[in-house]
């Protein structure tokens, strides 16, 4: 794969291949015989999936988001199958970042909806512009005399009123909130529904229509369909179990803590100032720390912060005292810091050994 291509144009070409092409491939063949299997093989091997996935990975890398092929595969599938992607994993592994990076890669606007307890349609979907509606009724009242001029009797007035356009509930009076905005966005958007587990169950149920058909129902207007199907990301920290109905409609990606090699690459991309030796040491230390029994394990974001801290302190090498004085960047609970304190020496030595 050539890396010199300009960023978004060729990638979106790779990503958005026509649907019919995928329909043609495969599809209901039962390979009963060898000949048929061979035929199938050649057909199936023609898919551009590996290249496209590689391209996504490289595109992400250019915008500073380092990921493994699993994550790239999920983006590929979400784009091609037009299915929402539910991303789960411990806090701080880059779930929200993934959505941002995708938006950047595809050159689409990112529309974000932060979930919280008590979030409802009025804040997530749409609201009527009450003020304007009030003004409209005022105006209507003034004009009513003109409209009704010449009408005889109540019946005729009402017939006339019915002929008159009902603009009170109209798209013009609709204030779009993030979800509606994402559906209306010409050219599509990346919609991020962040921390879904924090919202109420009712809201989760309400999302189902949007996620399966990319449409929403507004009682006064009817159904509104997406102009261009947005790419939808949902993230969850698993503070509560997400319902089965919702999971069924989504692709599911679990992002665990990165392994040593990946984390080193991430640090290299995010904090290029840090020297290689220190980088290896600090990553090894954090990886060791994750093996302990802690209330909150340090995530990638904490590793990045720590690397920045060490750069600020002009550290060249890890030692126990340095770790002790900066541990509060990595660990966010006093209990954890106290528990780890006795093991810092051992962990540091081990990290130095591993990094060698």
């Amino acid at each position: 794969m050539a890396c010199v291509l300009p960023l978004s144009a060729p990638l979106s070409l790779v990503l958005r291949s026509p649907q019919q092409e995928t329909k043609k491939k495969g599809g209901g063949a039962i390979f009963a015989s060898r000949a048929e299997l061979n035929k199938m093989d050649s057909r199936v091997n023609n898919t551009d999936a590996p290249e496209a996935i590689g391209a996504i990975q490289q595109g992400f890398e250019r915008s500073g988001y380092i990921c493994n092929s699993q994550i790239a595969t999920s983006i590929f599938l979400a784009e091609r199958l037009q299915k929402p992607l539910l991303v789960e994993g411990p806090p701080g592994v880059g779930k929200t970042e993934l959505a941002k990076a995708t938006a950047e890669l595809l050159g689409k606007p990112l529309i974000r909806l932060q979930c919280y307890e008590g979030l409802d349609e009025a804040k997530a979907l749409y609201e009527w512009k009450y003020g304007k509606q009030l003004l409209y009724t005022q105006v209507l009242k003034e004009k009513l005399g003109d409209l009704m001029a010449g009408a005889k009797g109540l019946k005729e007035s009402i017939t006339r009123l019915h002929e008159f356009d009902d603009t009170f509930f109209n798209e013009e009076f609709l204030e779009p909130r993030p979800l509606l905005k994402a559906l209306w966005q010409p050219g599509g958007a990346v919609l991020l529904i962040d921390e879904l587990d924090k919202s109420d169950d009712e809201f989760e149920a309400f999302l189902l229509e949007l996620l399966s058909d990319y449409q929403i129902s507004i009682p006064e207007l009817g159904t509104i369909k997406a102009r261009t199907t947005p790419i939808v990301f949902l993230t969850s920290n698993n503070t509560r179990e997400i319902g089965d109905a919702l999971k069924r409609r989504c692709l599911h990606l679990y992002i665990p803590f990165p392994d040593t090699a990946l984390e080193q690459r991430i640090i290299r991309a995010r904090v290029p100032e840090v020297e290689e030796r220190l980088r290896n040491q600090l990553v090894a230390f954090v990886q060791g720390l994750r093996g302990l029994d802690l209330k909150k394990l340090p995530a990638v974001s904490e590793t990045i912060d720590w690397a920045r801290t060490l750069v600020l302190l002009h550290a060249r090498e890890l030692d126990a005292d340095l770790v002790r004085s900066t541990l509060n960047v990595l660990l966010k609970f006093q209990d954890d810091i106290e528990n780890v304190d006795s093991e810092i020496n051992a962990l540091t030595t081990k990290a130095l050994q591993v990094a060698q």
């Binding site: 063949a29 199936v44 179990e241 029994d293």
Partner: protein, 471 residues
Amino acid sequence: MTEVLGDFIRALRAADIRVSTSESIDAGNVVDLVGLGEREILRHALSQVLAKSEDEKQAFRETFDRFFAFDQFKAKPESAEAERDGSEREPPSGESQNGSGGMPGPGGGGTEGQPSGGAPAPEDLIAMLESGDQAALQMALAEAARQAQLNRIRLFTQRGMYTRRMMEIMGLDGLNEEIERRERADPAGAQRLADARDALREQVRDYVEKQLEIFTANAGRQLREEVLSQVRLGNIDRSDMKIMRTLVAKMAKRLVALHSRRKKVEKRGQLDMRRTIRANVEFDGLFFHTVWKQQKIDRPKVMAICDVSGSVAQVARFLLMFLYSLQEVLPRVRSFAFSGQLGETTELFERERKIDEALTKVLRDFGGGSTDYGQAFVDFERLALDDVDHRTTVLILGDARSNYGNPRGDILKKIHARARRVIWLNPEPKSLWNSGDSEMKRLAPYCDTAKTCASLKDLERVISELLRHAA
């Protein structure tokens, strides 16, 4: 391909992964999209459509590896070795092998043309065996498995039957006839063919066993779990404890899912004036939004008093396991344990991460004494009676056998007066209540409910009721 995928999904279901029909369709689309070229990509892609939680991902990985294990690649070196072994043992056979290698030439051509017709004829099988074409054999094997409907295998006793059926489909009868015919003309060749036949049978049996494992990986465990959840807790074998633990966790999860749904009840019809005015400030006080009064569903405060003397300890273990697995919907559980004297164990459970260790500690600290309900109630009155209020549910677990001591029903009466509910769980069947030193008749009047509770199913029912009542 759809058939293979269907089998795979069935295997996933056997491994406790829930796959809905719509997800199966998605899986088909995914396969069309990413192709079969790259194993890794296929695995990642399928796992994203089919496995939707961390546990399921793990199970998916294992099943995928087992299901798509490529046998023919493994079989090849083996057979090469066998051939080498053979040629080492009988030097002259190399010559005859060459001869037979020349013979099946036309037959080999036949195999290439044939397969579209379905099962191979006996000649093809013989040719395949003689040429040692493992890939072709594997294909024939898979085809025979399909025709024999091997994916319906459920019991290990069916292995022999399926092996036999698959061999027959692959042309066993013709092969045997051929061996017989050759016996007269070419005994060595016949022997070789017979060996190959036996090797093939081994291979088929292996294949059948592997399939059995794939499709019934969890059937045994599921059956066992079902039995264990109904068996009396006192009778459970030590070796089953591990299954029991996961079972409790599973049941607790189900209860949480069932009861964490609703946190508020809306009292439609009663306007919450204060919040309505607040909500409509922006519209100049015109009431666009109406806010109705709500009632928060209050989860009960639970106090569990557990007899941990020998007879009841086992049940207490599971009750406590349950209560502490329900943190999500029952955030305020206080537990007390006694046999002779009573002590509070709440802190211990909160401190110890592993419930099992905490339980062992509790049993060590409080178990073993002779049971004295009177003393236990006196201790409870001193420790916690003041904290019992109209929102507290008191769960008492015990057989009410107080060794003929005064059970102090008067204290229980006091508790009953203050608490929202008192529930007595007795692991003994009702027919044994009030026999011997059992004091149920003196204590039961002060309980809102007193019931038998001997198995996990009973426990689940009781706790579910506890949560529902609170709602």
